[in-house]
Symmetry: C2
Subunit: 174 residues, 2 copies
């Protein structure tokens, strides 16, 4: 299905907004076109999760999150993106990486699609974490308990924890 009318009303560095008229609706829709994103829950051999805490201008506060980033606009593979962001943000490389699922983050206004992964990562980093990011290590079980009680405020982190837990959590490699 295609819009009857669409025109660009804002173009930014990350996203573009279009105003569209669709059949069956009595008002126009402002839709935000987003390149998509990938996020990865990194679990160490000892059962710790790596999180990055950073200041997020959009919410005007810091947030602890699993590593994540935008898909490159030239159609980067989501797994490659997750692997790249893991290394860039934490300095750790993955030993195994597994797809958990994909979700639309807010289908009312954006086509952002988020690909979630879980990775078994090396215990020690091969590089420094990205500047501006604080690297945190927390036990997987402790974070799952927080997620299950609704205390994880970042949606990708909450959902990845619950999906990884549903798959049996920290499984042995191999």
């Amino acid at each position: 299905m295609e819009p009857e009318v669409t025109h660009e009303v804002f173009r930014g560095r990350i996203f573009t907004v279009f105003r569209e008229r669709w059949p069956g609706f009595d008002h126009e829709h402002d839709v935000l076109r987003h390149p998509g994103a990938a996020a990865v829950l990194p679990i160490t051999p000892g059962g710790d999760v790596l999180l990055v805490r950073q200041f997020r201008p959009a919410i005007r506060q810091t947030l602890a999150e699993i590593p994540a980033g935008l898909l490159d606009v030239d159609g980067e593979d989501a797994l490659a993106c997750a692997s790249r962001e893991l290394f860039e943000e934490t300095g750790h490389r993955h030993e195994t990486i597994e797809f958990l699922g994909g979700v639309f983050t807010s289908a009312g206004f954006t086509d952002e699609y988020l690909h979630l992964f879980v990775a078994r990562v090396t215990d020690t980093p091969q590089a420094d974490p990205e500047p501006g990011l604080e690297l945190l290590r927390r036990p997987f079980d402790e974070l799952v308990t927080s997620a299950r009680s609704g205390r994880i405020r970042d949606v990708k982190t909450a959902l990845a924890l619950l999906l990884a837990d549903a798959r049996g959590g920290v499984r042995p490699v191999g």
Copy 2:
């Protein structure tokens, strides 16, 4: 913390975009200010979940979702919003309603905050569902199985199912 510079670059019906300069960043941020939203997982006495399927212009396809809507711009209470959307979209009223948690849906570019609830609802509707919405009934356990395996594509629906399941799922009223 406040931006050094902020100015409005787009104002739409639902959201507004600001371009901001923040200390510590070498580029400007385009941030989308959003009124916030509430969503509710409605469970019938027989253990069915009510979903609404609708065409979503932003993703150019239909999506099955739990009832949800924007907080009124004058600062509507999230529980009142969830209750209102439940009735407007499905025609069912809640008997009990419980907070599951709140999440930022995409903190990289928007302050959208989503409040999630689970409700025990009446078995029969008191009104017709909203025009343009198709009302679906699916067993809670079946949807939880889908959510756990990463097959629910709407983030609020996936997370609400997993959070409600973590709390013991369909509990008796009273």
